[in-house]
């Protein structure tokens, strides 16, 4: 990094230059289409096809995979056919493929674009910088195939809003949409509805990335403050969108049914379809948001109680990987080279004597017996698994959790009591209480139990020297059936 003090450089100017740079690959397509030797692409509007490709990829992106390249090409070949109806379908597809490959920038090593721009720093010196960006990315899908994803830069170019806060842009889009509908400008309304849909897709994408990181290591995502705030924001977004879009849906369904010209009717019908699609997207996001908490708890259960052993060794992540990533390429090459040589093991250079080679070549291959030797039955012992905690701990736990329905206790109190009873008991209490937090009442009701132990989070943080999280309230709730309730 160059020694440029923060805030000295005109960041706003840099943003504008970069925004401009993102459109360059699209302009470039039209500039280069005449130079293609193998086909005559002059009749096609390449930048329009490029926008159609980015549209098509963005809309097909959902939670797990991206867009199938073949379907994108088929989709965009349709647009190419509209531009040049008298050309052969094979050529339409070829044009679509050419645009797609150029948007990925297949020819470059990094498969991306680089724009060089200059800025005058605070000391008055003009320096040049490189801005690397991608428009479409190829990512691996779950089935081993390659899918396309539109990058943030591409989505921003597409919706025409660069470096903006998601929320505020959303509100602006809503206002615009409402106004448009009131004035009956439907084609613009359609564009605005689509903008709203891209925002939902962006939220989904961010959520997917964070859940993936949680799956790898639950500590890698801040579930204490950052993630709940993000989920709240997403829920708020969904809520607001539901309200707005149901209102819009009502409004335009009315316009559709009362429209006087066929063209108007068709436009309104299209808009209805888009808004329905938006609602479906919100549903999808909503479902994912609801599952997020459960997934976190499952990952926590899986990861938190894995035993750790104290031992003074290297922390590969903090002491090697991160410092190496921060180094300049030249220094990193040196340091990583040392790691590579030592970590990959050894190779034995071949040293062949001619006489050995000769005898190896003339030796006939040994015949192997087809079925091999006889297999002896192994003698297996059944080993009883030992319980992870000593027997008396479980008894003490039952004693501790035998609570009076009228007197619920806090987890912190339970932990203190447990510490006095047995050194291993606190861990067992935490495991049991966490399980209680996910308690299902229906099962207890079905079995006719009189009461059920529950743990409830009222938002009080736990202050403890071993554990962290919420100070749960643990209570034995008495179960009453609805009939008893009615009688009482």
């Amino acid at each position: 990094m160059l020694p440029v003090a923060a805030g000295v450089v005109d960041v706003g100017f840099a943003q504008r230059v970069k925004a401009l740079a993102c459109t360059a690959p699209l302009h470039d397509l039209d500039a280069r289409k005449a130079q293609v030797q193998t086909a005559d692409f002059a009749v096609y509007q390449m930048s329009e096809l490029a926008l159609h490709i980015i549209d098509s990829v963005t809309l097909a992106m959902d939670f797990d995979t991206g867009a199938d390249p073949q379907r994108v090409i088929a989709d965009v070949a349709g647009h190419a056919a509209q531009q040049a109806p008298d050309r052969a379908p094979a050529e339409h597809e070829k044009a679509a493929r050419w645009v797609l490959e150029n948007l990925i920038n297949v020819g470059s090593t990094d498969r991306g674009f680089r724009a060089v721009y200059g800025l005058t720093a605070g000391d008055g010196e003009y320096r040049t910088y490189a801005f690397d960006f991608k428009l479409l990315e190829e990512v691996p899908g779950g089935d081993g195939e390659i899918y396309l994803r539109a990058t943030t830069e591409a989505v921003n170019v597409l919706v025409g809003a660069l470096e903006v806060d998601i929320e505020s842009a959303q509100i602006a889009a809503d206002l615009r949409l409402d106004t448009l509908i009131r004035r009956g400008r439907l084609s613009d309304a359609q564009a605005a509805a689509q903008t709203a849909r891209y925002r939902t897709i962006q939220y989904g994408e961010q959520l997917r990335q964070r859940l993936e990181a949680t799956g790898r290591d639950v500590h890698s995502v801040d579930w204490l403050t950052e993630m709940p705030a993000f989920l709240d924001e997403a829920v708020e977004h969904i809520e607001a969108r539901y309200k707005a879009e149901n209102a819009i849906l009502l409004n335009i369904t009315e316009i559709r049914d009362t429209a006087d010209t066929a063209d108007r009717k068709r436009q309104a019908a299209q808009l209805v379809a888009i808004v329905r699609e938006c609602l479906r997207r919100h549903d999808q996001l909503g479902a994912a948001v609801q599952l997020a908490g459960r997934r976190f708890r499952a990952e926590q259960d899986r990861q938190t109680f894995t035993p750790t052993r104290a031992g003074g060794t290297l922390d590969l992540h903090a002491q090697l990987l991160v410092p190496a990533l921060e180094l300049s390429v030249v220094a990193a090459d040196l340091v990583l080279g040392a790691y590579f040589v030592t970590s990959t093991g050894t190779v034995v250079p071949p040293a062949v004597r001619l006489s050995d080679l000769f005898s190896a070549l003339i030796t006939p291959p040994t015949e192997r017996e087809l079925l091999g030797g006889e297999v002896t039955e192994p003698d297996l012992d059944v080993i009883e698994p030992e319980p992870p905690f000593p027997e008396e701990c479980y008894e003490l736990l039952d004693e501790l959790l035998d609570l009076d329905p009228e007197a619920p206790r806090r987890l912190s109190g339970l932990l203190e009591a447990a510490r006095e009873m047995h050194p291993w008991l606190p861990s067992l209490v935490v495991i049991r209480v966490l399980a209680l937090a996910a308690q299902e009442i229906h099962a207890a009701v079905r079995h006719g139990a009189t009461g059920v132990l529950m743990a409830i989070d009222d938002g009080t943080p736990l202050t403890d020297r071993e554990f962290a999280g919420s100070d749960l309230i643990v209570a034995r709730a008495a179960l009453t059936t609805a009939a008893e309730e009615g009688a009482a």
Binding site: S220, D315, L316, Q319, D333, L336, G337
Partner: protein, 263 residues
Amino acid sequence: MSTIETTTDAARLISYGLRPKMLPARDEEYRTLVGRARTDDDFTAAVHAVAAGLGLVVIEVTERTGIVVASTEDSPFAIRMTDYARRTSSEGKAAERVVHALAHLGAATLAYPRPADLADESYIGRISTEGVDAFVREACARLADRVDDEHTDASATEPDLDAAWRVYARRARTGSTGDGRKLSTSTIGVTSKALAFLADQGLLVRTSDDRGGTFRTTPRYRAQVREAGAVMFDELLSLGIAEISDGTGTITVGWDAATVEAL
């Protein structure tokens, strides 16, 4: 036993170390030699002396994995990056070498995410090609976030000063080529090569083809990574870059020291 016989046996034990897939449990002679190396001090000294002469370092001798040796940089047994990956030899290809080495370091880090895992002999890490790539990318993204507030684009005139994370993050994740193969210069392609190579070296064991290839670690890999980590740490120290760890894991994203302290 005469000196010559001792030396012969020492050299023989090392020759077992050069065949990493052989195990003492499956070879009587190997088992005997390992037992001797663990009990006979003179023999151990001879083993270390022969290894040093060959440019090797004996990392550990255990009954489970046998003898684990690592090569020094100028040993004839060293695997050179230029032999490992073509097109990395010339002067200007530092970025290419860095991407390959990062895939290796990323695999080790994901296999042993906490310091305790690296210290624990019985720990078995499980990694996949796509997982390793995603992991290194996440680390890059974190560094990108950290410098996001400042003006951070790399200088266009001095490519050698480009940060390593930028080089990795910029590279395509995957890609298709005209003939239906996967793009070998993409980061997933590079990672896939690294893991397959480690499996060939007897350091990883392939368990399935899911997520671009899934592998588990061997005890030998743990020993090798510890040694390589120590060597690399020395190199970092000589550059004046060193982080002191208190032994707790640091793979946290979005949690700084203060919030962890508060827990």
